[in-house]
C-alpha cells in the first residue's frame, strides 16, 4: 500500500444501502437478516473471515507458544548460542553473521533474525502489535467519522463548512507522507491532551495517527448519507414528537448508518494494518526493539542478503492477514449492497 488507499475505501461504500430490493423476494425479513443470509452463502468470504480469526487467535496465544514451545521471548538474543537441529549442532547466528534459517522444530521454527531472536515468537508478538494498532485505529476512525459525519450532515451550515474544510486538509496530504510526519513529530515529544499524557514510545501514537488520517475517507460518505436521512419522514416524525437533535441523531439516524459502518470496518482494519507496516518500516510507527510486522519487514529488508526469509516470513503473514480482511470485507459489502444481486447474476 503505497498511497491513497482512499480509492479502495471510497469505492467500498454502497451508494445507498436499501433493503427494499431484497424485500420483494423475501417478504418480512429485516435488512440485516437478508444481509447476513447473503453473507452466509458466500463460502469464500466466510473462509477468509475464519482465516483472519485464526491469525488473531494465534497472536493471542503468543505467550503460550513462547513459553511452552520456543522457550524464549521476543526480545532475548541468542547470538552466541548453538542449537541442535535434527541431530546436527548449529549456530543460531553463524560467525559470518548469517542467522539460521527455518528449522521447523520447536526452537527457531522460522529461523532467527540478525540478533539471534526467534522469528516465530517475534512474528506472533508482532502480530499482536499490528493487530492492536490496526483494529484500534479502525475503531477510533469509525468513532471520529461518525461524530464528524453526523454533526456535518445534520447541522449543515457553518458546522458542515468547518468540518468539511478540516477533512479536506487531511485529505490533501498523501497518506504515508502525513503518517510519517505526524508519527515522527509525536514520537519525539509524546503527546499531551489535557491531563492525558502519551509517551513517545507508546503504541497509542501510531494508532492515533492512523486513525486521524483515515477519518476523511469514512466521514465524507457518512455525511452524505446523513444529509439524505435527515430529510426522511421518520426523522420528521421524531421531530414532530418533540425529539431533540441529539435524540434524532443517535436513535433515528445512527441505526441507519450501521450497515455502512459494518461494510467499512474490515476494509479500514486492513488499510490501517498496511499503514502501520509502512510507518514502522520507515521508522515512524512501532519503535524497535518492539516487534510488529512492519518493523520485522523493515529489519528483514535491511538484511535480505544474509537471509531472505527475514523479509519473506513477516511479509507473508501480513499479506495473508490483509488479504483475509479484504476478501471478507468484500463479502460483507456484497451482502449489504443491493447491487450485489445484479453482480451475481452475471
Amino acid at each position: 500500500m503505497a498511497i491513497e488507499p482512499a480509492t479502495e475505501l471510497a469505492s467500498a461504500v454502497p451508494e445507498a444501502i436499501v433493503a427494499e430490493g431484497g424485500r420483494t423476494r423475501v417478504a418480512g425479513l429485516a435488512p440485516w437478516r437478508i444481509a447476513l443470509r447473503r453473507l452466509r452463502r458466500n463460502r469464500v468470504a466466510l473462509a477468509f473471515g475464519a482465516l483472519f480469526l485464526v491469525i488473531v487467535g494465534m497472536c493471542l496465544a503468543a505467550p503460550i507458544y513462547a513459553d511452552q514451545i520456543a522457550h524464549t521471548d521476543p526480545y532475548t538474543n541468542h547470538l552466541t548460542e548453538q542449537i541442535t537441529v535434527h541431530g546436527v549442532k548449529k549456530y543460531v547466528v553463524a560467525p559470518s553473521g548469517v542467522p539460521i534459517g527455518p528449522t521447523y522444530s520447536g526452537r527457531f521454527f522460522l529461523g532467527a533474525d540478525g540478533n539471534g531472536r526467534d522469528i516465530a515468537v517475534r512474528l506472533l508478538y508482532g502480530g499482536r502489535a499490528s493487530l492492536t494498532i490496526g483494529i484500534g485505529a479502525a475503531l477510533f476512525t469509525t468513532l471520529l467519522s461518525i461524530i464528524a459525519g453526523m454533526l456535518a450532515g445534520y447541522y449543515r451550515g457553518w458546522v458542515d463548512a468547518v468540518i468539511g474544510r478540516l477533512l479536506d486538509l487531511v485529505w490533501a496530504y498523501p497518506v504515508v507522507l502525513l503518517g510519517i510526519a505526524l508519527g515522527t513529530a509525536l514520537a519525539l515529544g509524546g503527546l499531551k491532551i489535557g491531563p492525558l499524557q502519551i509517551d513517545g514510545e507508546s503504541k497509542l501514537i501510531p494508532t492515533l495517527v492512523i486513525a486521524v488520517i483515515y477519518v476523511p475517507y469514512m466521514a465524507r460518505p457518512l455525511r452524505g448519507q446523513v444529509l439524505a436521512l435527515r430529510e426522511k419522514e421518520f426523522v420528521e416524525a421524531a421531530r414532530a414528537q418533540g425529539a431533540g437533535s441529539l435524540r434524532i441523531m443517535f436513535s433515528e439516524i445512527l441505526p441507519n448508518l450501521s450497515s455502512s459502518i459494518v461494510v467499512f470496518l474490515p476494509l479500514l482494519i486492513a488499510n490501517a494494518i498496511l499503514l502501520e507496516a509502512a510507518l514502522s518500516f520507515l521508522g515512524a510507527g512501532v519503535r524497535p526493539p518492539n516487534p510488529s510486522w512492519g518493523t520485522m519487514i523493515g529489519d528483514g529488508v535491511e538484511r535480505i542478503i544474509s537471509g531472505p526469509h527475514l523479509a519473506i516470513v513477516p511479509g507473508i503473514m501480513l499479506v495473508l492477514n490483509v488479504l483475509a480482511l479484504n476478501v471478507f470485507g468484500d463479502g460483507v459489502r456484497d451482502a449489504f449492497d443491493p447491487r450485489a444481486r445484479v453482480r451475481a447474476s452475471h
Partner: protein, 315 residues
C-alpha cells in the same frame, strides 16, 4: 465555466495556505522540543544553542518564523537545517526521477487495469474472472516496500535480470532509463492495478445491460464495438478521475515507499529522509510542492470531468 475555474483557484490557494500552516505546526508546535537543541547536536554548550537560536530565528515568535520560511520557499533561498543544502535546488534535482516513476507507473497501471477489468467483466463468474479477481486482491494486500524489496533481491541481485537500483536520465539513454525503472514501475503499479481493475469491472457490469448498450447491440454492432465504444467509454469516467488524483499524489511524495526501497532518490525519498532528521525546511517545501500537485490535478480533473460529461453541473 469561468466562474467555476476562478472559484476553484481561490479554494486551491486557501487549501495550500492551510496545508503550509498545518505542516509547519506539526514540526514546530507538537514536538514540545526546541529545534535549536536538536540542531546543536548531542552535547552542546548553552552558548552554542543560543547562537543557533539567533541564527535560525527560533527566538522570534512562531508566526514570524512561519512567514520567514514561506518567504524563503518562494524566493528560493531556503536551506536545510541539517545539511545546509539549498532545498529548491534539491527538489528540482529529484523531481525528474519522481516524474519518471509516476508517469511510467501511471501508464502501466492504467493499461493493465483496463485490460484486466474489461476481461474479468466479460468473463464474470467464470474461472478466469475468479482467478484474476483473487490476484487483484492480493495486489491490493501487498505492501509496496515488501514486494519491491523482494523484486530487488530476486530479480535484481540474485538472478541479475534487472539492474539493482540506480537511475539513468531519459535524455541520456531512453532504453536504459526504462530498463532501470521497470521494477519500480511494476511494484508501484500492482496496488493501483488491483484497485482500478476491480472498480472498472463493476462499472462495466453495471452498464453492460444499460439501454444504450442494448440499442448499440440492436442496431447490429458487433459485441467488441459495443464494449469498447459504448460500455468502456462510460465506465472509464470514474477511473480517469481517480487516475488524475492518484497521479498527483504519487508526484507529490506519495511514492516515497517505492522510491526508498529502490533508492531512486526522488522527491518522496528526500522528504522521508528529511522527516527522519526532523529537518523542517525540506519537509515544508516538499509538502507544499506535493500538495500543489495534488490540488492542481484535482482541479484539472474536475474541469476535464465537467467538460467530458455534460451531466455534471459545475457548482
Amino acid at each position: 465555466m469561468k466562474r467555476f475555474v476562478i472559484r476553484r483557484l481561490i479554494s486551491m490557494i486557501a487549501v495550500l495556505f492551510a496545508i503550509s500552516i498545518a505542516t509547519f505546526c506539526i514540526f514546530n508546535v507538537i514536538p514540545n522540543s526546541d529545534p535549536a537543541q536538536r540542531l546543536a547536536g548531542r552535547h552542546p554548550t548553552k552558548g552554542q544553542i543560543e547562537a543557533i537560536r539567533r541564527q535560525w530565528g527560533f527566538d522570534k515568535p512562531v508566526y514570524t518564523q512561519y512567514a520567514k520560511m514561506m518567504e524563503k520557499i518562494f524566493t528560493g533561498d531556503l536551506v536545510s537545517y541539517v545539511s545546509q543544502v539549498d532545498v529548491d535546488k534539491e527538489i528540482l534535482q529529484d523531481a525528474p526521477r519522481t516524474f519518471s516513476l509516476a508517469i511510467g507507473a501511471a501508464i502501466m497501471w492504467m493499461v493493465f487495469a483496463i485490460a484486466l477489468g474489461l476481461y474479468t467483466a466479460v468473463r464474470a463468474g467464470g474461472f478466469a474472472d475468479r482467478f484474476l479477481t483473487v490476484l487483484a486482491l492480493i495486489g491490493i494486500s501487498m505492501p509496496v516496500f515488501w514486494i519491491g524489496a523482494l523484486m530487488n533481491y530476486y530479480l535484481g541481485f540474485k538472478w541479475n535480470i534487472f539492474p539493482n537500483g540506480g537511475y539513468v536520465p531519459l535524455t541520456e539513454d531512453p532504453l536504459q532509463w526504462a530498463y532501470h525503472l521497470i521494477m519500480p514501475w511494476t511494484a508501484l503499479s500492482l496496488l493501483f492495478i488491483g484497485i482500478y481493475s476491480r472498480i472498472l469491472r463493476s462499472n462495466v457490469l453495471d452498464t453492460i445491460n444499460d439501454d444504450y448498450a442494448r440499442t448499440a447491440r440492436a442496431k447490429g454492432l458487433p459485441e467488441r464495438q459495443v464494449l469498447l465504444r459504448h460500455v468502456l467509454r462510460n465506465s472509464l469516467i470514474p477511473i480517469v478521475t481517480l487516475w488524475g488524483l492518484d497521479f498527483g499524489a504519487v508526484v507529490g511524495g506519495g511514492a516515497l515507499l517505492t522510491e526508498t526501497v529502490f533508492d531512486l532518490q526522488g522527491v518522496g525519498q528526500y522528504v522521508a529522509e528529511s522527516i527522519a532528521q526532523l529537518d523542517v525546511p525540506p519537509v515544508l517545501a516538499v509538502v507544499m510542492f506535493g500538495a500543489f500537485f495534488v490540488v492542481v490535478t484535482n482541479t484539472v480533473v474536475d474541469i476535464i470531468y465537467a467538460t467530458l460529461d455534460p451531466r455534471i453541473r459545475l457548482t
